[in-house]
Symmetry: C2
Subunit: 479 residues, 2 copies
C-alpha cells in the first residue's frame, strides 16, 4: 500500500475511507431492508442490460461502483436478510459474522495445510470441538478422539465427502485406485435433499443405485422399509454402502428415526451420514436435542451454521467418527506440498478432508459469532424463532380456511388453504407479488402447500403477525 505502487492500488488512506463508508452503507442497508420488496422484481436480462457491455480500460473511483450497487444491483436482489424473508430455509447472518468474514478477507491466508497458516487450522479444530460440547454431540466427533470436525462450504460438499469415505470403506480401501464398484448402493428417503442424489451421481454411483425409501405420515423415513431395501440389495449381490438420514428435511423438517436407522446400519455394516443442515443448529438448546438421539450411531454428521446459527455463508460443520477413513479417501501428497509438519503426523491438513485444495479462514466468523452471543445468546435466538413458528402454527390451527400440512418440529410451518392446489398456487404468487413477504412452496403427498420458514436474524413477532394478516387478507382476495 506504499507510495511505490504508483497510485494504481487503492492507498491505505483510500481503503480506510472507502471501507468505513461501506460499513455505514451496510448498516444503513440492514436498517432499511425490511422496507424493500423482499422478492426482486426484475425481469430476466434487466440487470445485465443496465451494465456496460465492455470492461473499463481505465480504473474507476469506488464511488462509481457503489453508485451502480444502488442503481443496478439492489433492485436485482431478493433480500435474504429481510425480516420478512420466510422462503426456502434462511441463510441468516449477523454483524459479528460479517466482521469475521471481513477479517478473513483482509488477512488473506490459505489454510490448505497446517503449515500454510497454523492458526487457520487450529482455530477451526478448536471451534468445532467447542461445537461438540455446545450441541451435545457424541464425544467421538471431537478431534482428540478417532474423529473430528471440519468446516465444509455446504452440506452438499459434506455429503459428497462422506459418500466418498463410505465408498472407500465399503471397498476395503480399493475405491481410490480402481474406481466405484458398480454394485454399490445408496439409501435416502423420498424427502432427502437432492444434494445426496447429486453426490451419488458425481461419485460415479448413479441414480439407478440410489434407493428412495418410503416415508411415514410425518414424512420421516420408515426404518423397516430401509431394512427391506438393504436386504433385498444384498440378496441380489449388491453392496449397500451409504445411508443418509435427515434431521429436518427440506420440505417439512421431518425427522428420520436415527436410533432405528443407526442400529440397522451398524448391523449391516453400512455408513450412516446424518444431514441436519437446518435443524442441527437447534441442538444448542438441550430441549431440542431429542431428534439427535441415536447420532452416536452415525459415521458422519453435518449442519449449517450458515442457515440458522447467525453465521455467513459458507459455513457447514461436518463431523466424522473415523477421520482416517475420510483422509484415506481424499489424500494425495505431491512433492510441492510436502513439509515437516505434515510428515510429523502431529497436525491436521484440512485439504485432505475436502474436495478442494485451497481453503479460506472460515473459522474466524464462527468464533466471532460464538463469542459475541455466548452459548446462552444462541439458545435464546433459536428459542425465539421456534416460539414464533409455534404461534403461527396456532393461528393456522384456529383458522377455518387453512390447515397445517406437516408437523411443526422446529421453525418451519407447512400449511395450505383448504380450497385446494390451485388456490394455494395463486395465493403464493399473490403474496410474493406484494413485496411484503416472501414464501416458497413444496408438494407433500401430491398436494401443493406453502412453507413459512422462520429464521432470519431480525425476524420478530410483529413480522410474523403481519405475515399472518397478509396471508389471510390475500387468501380472501384470491379465493
Amino acid at each position: 500500500m506504499s507510495g511505490e505502487d504508483h497510485g494504481r492500488h487503492m492507498s491505505s488512506e483510500e481503503f480506510r475511507a472507502n471501507g468505513k463508508a461501506l460499513v455505514d452503507w451496510i448498516a444503513d442497508y440492514w436498517d432499511r431492508v425490511e422496507n424493500l420488496p423482499v422478492l426482486s422484481r426484475v425481469a430476466p436480462g434487466e440487470v445485465r442490460a443496465a451494465l456496460p457491455a465492455h470492461p473499463p480500460e481505465r480504473g474507476e473511483p469506488f464511488s462509481a461502483m457503489m453508485g451502480d450497487v444502488d442503481r443496478v444491483i439492489l433492485p436485482g436482489l431478493t433480500h435474504w436478510q429481510s425480516p420478512n424473508f420466510f422462503a426456502y430455509f434462511p441463510s441468516n447472518i449477523s454483524a459479528p459474522s460479517v466482521l469475521g468474514e471481513l477479517l478473513c478477507a483482509g488477512l488473506g491466508v490459505q489454510g490448505m495445510l497446517w503449515a500454510t497458516s497454523p492458526a487457520c487450522t487450529e482455530l477451526e479444530t478448536h471451534v468445532l470441538d467447542w461445537m461438540v460440547e455446545m450441541m451435545g454431540l457424541p464425544a467421538h466427533f471431537r478431534s482428540d478422539s478417532s474423529g473430528g470436525g471440519v468446516i465444509q462450504d455446504t452440506a452438499s460438499s459434506a455429503a459428497l465427502c462422506a459418500l466418498v469415505a463410505a465408498r472407500e470403506r465399503a471397498m476395503d480401501g480399493a475405491a481410490s485406485r480402481i474406481g466405484t464398484d458398480a454394485r454399490l448402493t445408496v439409501y435416502v428417503s423420498t424427502q432427502t435433499h437432492s444434494s445426496v442424489e447429486k453426490a451419488a451421481r458425481i461419485a460415479g454411483i448413479g441414480t439407478d443405485r440410489v434407493r428412495k425409501i418410503e416415508v411415514d405420515a410425518d414424512h420421516a423415513m420408515i426404518a423397516d422399509r430401509l431394512r427391506e431395501s438393504i436386504d433385498r440389495d444384498r440378496g441380489a449381490g449388491l453392496i449397500p454402502a451409504f445411508v443418509c438420514a435427515t434431521v429436518g428435511t427440506t420440505s417439512s423438517t421431518a425427522i428420520d428415526p436415527l436410533p432405528q436407522i443407526g442400529t440397522l446400519c451398524r448391523e449391516r455394516g453400512v455408513w450412516l451420514h446424518v444431514d441436519a443442515a437446518l435443524a442441527g443448529s437447534a441442538a444448542v438448546c438441550p430441549e431440542f436435542r431429542t431428534s439427535l438421539a441415536g447420532l452416536d450411531l452415525a459415521d458422519s454428521y453435518c449442519f449449517n451454521p450458515h442457515k440458522w446459527l447467525l453465521t455467513n455463508s459458507d459455513c457447514d460443520c461436518m463431523f466424522v467418527k473415523d477421520k482416517a477413513a475420510l483422509v484415506r479417501s481424499l489424500s494425495i501428497l505431491p512433492e510441492y506440498l510436502r513439509n515437516h509438519a505434515t510428515e510429523s503426523g502431529a497436525v491436521i491438513d484440512y485439504r485432505d478432508w475436502q474436495v478442494q485444495l485451497g481453503r479460506r479462514f472460515r473459522a474466524l466468523k464462527l468464533w466471532f459469532v460464538i463469542r459475541h452471543y455466548g452459548v446462552e445468546g444462541l439458545r435464546a435466538h433459536i428459542r425465539e424463532h421456534v416460539a414464533m413458528a409455534r404461534e403461527f402454527a396456532d393461528r393456522i390451527r384456529e383458522s377455518e380456511d387453512f390447515e397445517l400440512a406437516a408437523p411443526v418440529t422446529l421453525s418451519l410451518v407447512c400449511f395450505r388453504h383448504r380450497a385446494g392446489d390451485d388456490i394455494n398456487r395463486r395465493l403464493l404468487e399473490a403474496l410474493n407479488a406484494t413485496g411484503r413477504i416472501y414464501l416458497t412452496h413444496t408438494v407433500l403427498d401430491d398436494r401443493h402447500m406453502l412453507r413459512l420458514a422462520i429464521g432470519q436474524t431480525h425476524t420478530r413477532p410483529r413480522h410474523v403477525h403481519a405475515a399472518w394478516d397478509l396471508v389471510r387478507e390475500t387468501a380472501r382476495r384470491v379465493a
Copy 2:
C-alpha cells in the same frame, strides 16, 4: 438491528464502530505486514493451547476478540499478503476485492437460482463475458454462445465438474443414471496438479485409470506420448474420456502444447480441459497469450483470479464450450426449487454448474477489481511481476553458484544451488527460518530445487532484490 432485539445482537451503532475499527486494523496490518516473520513460528498445538477449552456461556465484547486476534491468531499466521511471500503460488488480494467480499457478506444473498437473487447470477455472467474479452478467450466461452462462464471456488472443483461433464458425454448421457463405466480413462502429465487425480478418485474413476503422460525437457506434456497412450487404451477396449492440459504447471509453470493436444482430442473425441490456474491471469496482456493458442480446441478452461488477479480467494473462473453438457451432468430439480424463471428457460441457474447448491455473491469482488484497476491497471500489474521474475532469473544466470532449473515462462523462478540436493534443502530451511522471506521447494528430474513465485500484490523490485541478497548470503553460510 432494532431495539426490539433486546441488545443481544450487535446494534447498528456498535456495528458501525466495530466495523470501522476493523477496517483500520486491516489497513494497519497491510501497512506493517512486510515486517512480520513471513512463515509462522508456532509449534503444533500452540495456538489451541492459548484458547479457552470451553465456549463462553455469555457474550463477550468485540474488543476481546480482536485482542485475541492480536495475541493468539497473528503469531499463528503465515503471511500470504507479505510482499516477501514467494512460496507456492500467490493468493493475492487487493483493497477493492476485500471491499467486494465485505459487501457480499453484508448483503448475505444466496445465488443458487436466478430467482433467488437475479443480480447475483447476472453480474456473474456479465463479468465472465467481460473476462472472455479481456483475456482474448475463444468466443464460444461467452454466455451468448453454446457455452458460458461460472465462478467456482477453486480449480479443483472446476476440474471435478469438467470431468463429470466429460464422463456424461463419453457415456452418451448415461453416467448420471448408471454410474461410471469402469472402462473410462483420464490423461494428465506427470506435472499436472494433484487435484485432477483427486477429481478422478472422487468421480469414481480411480487412479489406476489415470495415465500420467511423460513430459519433455521443459516439463511440458509430450503430445505424441499422449496419442500413444490414448490409442493403446482404445485398442484395449477402454474409453478415453478426459485430458487435462496445463498452462503453467505448479512445479515450474511449464506450458503444455495446446494446439497438438487439442487437435488430438478432437480427432479422438476426448474432452479437453485446460487448467491455467495461475498463468491464465497473464492473458490480460496480449503478449502473454501465446501459451493459450489452441484454447479454441478445449471443451473447458479455468483460471484463478484468486491467485494472480488481485481477487480474494475463492474465485476460479471456469468456462465451458457446451453448457448443456455441464448442466445435464449436474442438474436435479426437486419440487421445492421449482420456479417460473427456471421453467421459462430464459435464465441461468448456476446451481446446475457446480457441486454445491448454495452460492455466495462472488462476482461482486471480481467486478470491483476490474473496475478499480481497469484492464490497463491489471496489465501493468502482471507485467511488473513478470519483469521482476526475469530480473531475478538474470541474477541466477549470472551467478556462479546457482543455476536455473526450469524455463522462466512467467513469474515463477525455479533455481538451485549447484552443490546438490542437500545444500538446497538446508538453504531453504535456513532462508525460511530468517522470517524475512518464504519460499517453497519442488523436485524436477529427481533433483531438489527452490521455487521463487512472484505475485503478491505489493511485491516491488526492492523485495526481490533483498530476497536475492538473502539467498546469496544464506547460501554462503550454509555451504
